[in-house]
């Protein structure tokens, strides 16, 4: 109950930023569980500017969010482009990959784009504790 009340009082754009972190980290963790580390390492490297911000007080959070929002946006666009290419010509694409381009995949790709655009537009409204 306490957590729900806390979340209700939160800035929705802060929550959106946290959601974007989670999505990227979950992608990395999915592979860690099967003994493959590089997706998580890449996620950690991409997230490192936020860690830098946390320790260096002079860092401006809105610039970091700008970088992050563009990254999320690009990721969503790449996913959609890949889906489009495979829709046009799927020759040579392994079946394992081919059958992952589902409706769920499309919805998640669009979600990345929406999150990216929203974070970019509302970056000045995001405060998170690390900027204090």
């Amino acid at each position: 109950m306490n957590i729900i009340q806390k979340l209700k009082g939160c800035n929705p754009y802060d929550l959106l930023l946290i959601l974007s972190f989670m999505l990227i980290l979950i992608k990395g963790l999915e592979y860690v569980f099967i003994g493959i580390l590089y997706p998580l390492v890449i996620s950690a490297i991409l997230l490192s500017p936020f860690v830098y911000c946390y320790f260096k007080k002079r860092c401006t959070i809105s610039k970091t969010i700008k970088y992050w929002s563009l990254l999320i946006l690009c990721y969503g666009v790449v996913r959609i482009l890949l889906n489009t290419i495979i829709y046009i010509d799927s020759r040579g694409i392994p079946s394992e990959a081919y059958y992952q381009f589902t409706l769920k995949y499309s919805i998640i790709s669009i979600l990345y784009v929406v999150i990216g655009v929203t974070l970019f537009r509302k970056r000045k409204h995001i405060f998170l504790n690390l900027s204090q």
């Binding site: 099967i34 493959i36 890449i42 790449v78 996913r79 392994p94 079946s95 394992e96 990959a97």
Partner: protein, 303 residues
């Protein structure tokens, strides 16, 4: 006079043995063929694989799941102990890994223990998946039905001095994903594996010579297969084909052989990876005679 009688007696016994063996072999074929036709028709969409579900390929997750269900049931019915291997692994491409979920699949696996205590294993099997838009009759429902028929015959042997494992691999068409995952797991298990035999495509024999190819065999296995093939008067050719499941085991140092119709010699299906790789194109006589031979190989290894 006495020695002449001895010779005649010897000849008569030999002839009788041949006669009995020939009868046994015919019996084996008449037993094998209906089973293979039945399984083949289910796997290639000629008959339903479950209730009223027909599958025209074994490529999508749902079709593979139905195939796993069907083949697992077949193995249980013939008395093997099911021990399916579920795996998750890389998509084989770092870029795809950053975008997609890990590749996942099921290698259908079952054990037939030795009749007397042994820690030695002989492993054999074939991939059950197919290319997209391809019924995959020869590639590789033939390998699967051959393996199943051999498994059924092995279960009926009164004496087996080694343990057998049958593995029907998933996702061979995606770059031997299933067999790579299985070979990795097998190596970790530290099992005492004597040999691994994988069968891929065994349904085309236009020249009716019953010949087939062994791919990248170990020296031991090459010698063994060739000497046994000679007894059966079967032409056997060694090739360097590496594009199938046997490669996954060779790479991990197992005593391995790949088995296939005359792929390099050219007496091979022209329908490979096409929608025309159907039930109707399978040479069931060749499939049954190859099954007989492979069963003989394993029976000998079990002695």
């Amino acid at each position: 006079m006495k020695s002449l009688l001895k010779v005649i007696g010897y000849l008569w016994v030999t002839l009788l043995c041949f006669e009995v063996q020939a009868q046994k072999d015919t019996l084996l074929v008449s037993e094998i063929m209906p089973l293979q036709k039945e399984i083949m028709s289910r796997l290639t969409g000629k008959k339903p694989i479950k209730d009223s579900i027909y599958i025209g390929q074994r490529a999508s997750p749902r079709e593979r799941e139905l195939t796993v269900e069907f083949l697992s049931q077949q193995l249980t019915e013939i008395g093997w102990q099911l021990d399916n291997h579920h795996y998750k692994t890389t998509n084989g491409n770092p870029f795809l890994d950053l975008i997609l979920s890990p590749a996942s699949g099921v290698n259908i696996s079952a054990v037939l223990p030795a009749t007397r205590s042994s820690d030695e294993y002989v492993i054999f099997g074939s991939h059950y998946d197919s290319e997209r838009d391809c019924p995959g009759a020869i590639d590789n429902a033939t390998g699967v039905t051959l393996s199943l028929a051999v498994a059924s015959q092995l279960a009926q042997l009164k004496e087996r001095n080694v343990n057998f494992i049958i593995v029907l691999f998933d996702q061979e068409e995606d770059g031997e994903v299933g067999s790579k995952a299985y070979a990795k797991m097998l190596q970790k298990s530290k099992k005492n594996v004597y040999s691994v035999h994988t069968i891929d495509m065994m349904g085309w024999d236009e020249d009716n010579n019953r010949g087939f190819e062994i791919e990248l065999p170990s020296l031991d296995l090459e010698r063994f297969y060739k000497s046994e093939a000679e007894k059966f008067n079967i032409p056997l050719y060694t090739t360097k084909v590496s594009s199938s499941d046997h490669k996954s085991f060779i790479d991990r140092g197992f005593n391995t052989v790949g088995i296939s119709e005359e792929y390099v010699k050219g007496d091979t299906t022209p329908h490979l990876h096409r929608p025309t790789d159907t039930y109707e194109t399978v040479n069931f006589d060749f499939l049954a005679s190859s099954t007989q031979f492979i069963f003989h190989i394993f029976k000998t290894l079990a002695q």
